[in-house]
Symmetry: C2
Subunit: 235 residues, 2 copies
Amino acid sequence: MDSSIASRVGVKLRQTGELNRRSFLCRAATWSVAAGIGVHHGFAAESNSMNPRLFTFVGGNSGPWTVTRFKTVVGDPIAEPSKIDIVPGGLPGFPAGAQWMLKGVTSNVRYVAREEKVELEARQAALGRPEATHGALIPIRKNAKWWALTQDERRAIFEERSHHTAVGMKYLPSIARRLHHCRDLEVAEPFDFLTLFDYAAKDATAFEDLVAALRVTEEWKYVDREIDIRMIRPG
Amino acid sequence: MDSSIASRVGVKLRQTGELNRRSFLCRAATWSVAAGIGVHHGFAAESNSMNPRLFTFVGGNSGPWTVTRFKTVVGDPIAEPSKIDIVPGGLPGFPAGAQWMLKGVTSNVRYVAREEKVELEARQAALGRPEATHGALIPIRKNAKWWALTQDERRAIFEERSHHTAVGMKYLPSIARRLHHCRDLEVAEPFDFLTLFDYAAKDATAFEDLVAALRVTEEWKYVDREIDIRMIRPG
């Protein structure tokens, strides 16, 4: 507890738990709903709530994940932390001891077709399995050329030519994955996506294969910033 | 100026302009980049900046747009304001005199194909033409069933069966439009999209036709909350 980033800034996130954690949300991020709709008009159901799909990733000196490898694959680096903390929702301020903080939201699928979605959902595992003591956090940004493409063009590169989903499918359920989108948050984030993976020690080689397979695709030619952070946690 | 919501809360957004407006951003929304990356690691280019695609819509008693019609089309209502203010970026607090505040970001296209995008870009006008004294702000939310669809399914409904882009194209360049996405912001917003339109008085009937044409589509069966706000501003 004493080493937790949150406790260092006095907000006792760990101690107060999820409910209170949410009450510490930044005032400015919540007034639109809280004051505008919640308080004035009594729409309690929509007031005071963070996006339930928001996650905050803190690189610093506390958190359950210990960084074991840290590599700037392409583009500008970020500082290498010793620990990574992953917090549902937001944080009320920049935590003492943190080197950086990245945010993203999970969202609706953007590229998979129905058949692929059905197969993914049938095969994929959730993060947090007890044996999944190995993890990776891979923030990436795609360039302006990618974002100027139309949906069909992006899909063609993503799947028909780069086989992103098909490649990932080969590693299910061993490698669990959660994708977070950063591009449409209120603050200009340094990355477009944060992908979090976890897997058992026995699957570490498979994970290397997966990452290597994706990096040689046509899709990856549009990635202009990528950091590869590997980490472990106690079993 | 004196009637502006912003000036009432003392931040003088109108007077200080875009640069200072950005410096008033909520602390909590900026610390991740400002303190984490900007200050500690000197990535000045990415520090302290709001998403440049963010816009805030304030319903209250000030702003350039005067509300002329206000209708809850489906779902829960919101309060009817007398004025609408539209601010690039965020605001530092809930403005005095405001009844609600809604935020959204413009983003990459999600459904149009290349040929459609080329045609749209060739034909569409930007908001703010001097003659465009009539406006509409239409916040909508789509239901969970929509968001559980895959991209190809949503595209099929949106365009192949509802002809959303094709219908809109018929009204170009008369009716200018800017779409803002709210679903993947940090705070749980009450709507998924905010669409802002402006047009000349002579095109008011055409706008009614456009809105009516979209509301009878298959796509609109997924809209479970919609507010239709019409407004005018001095020419």
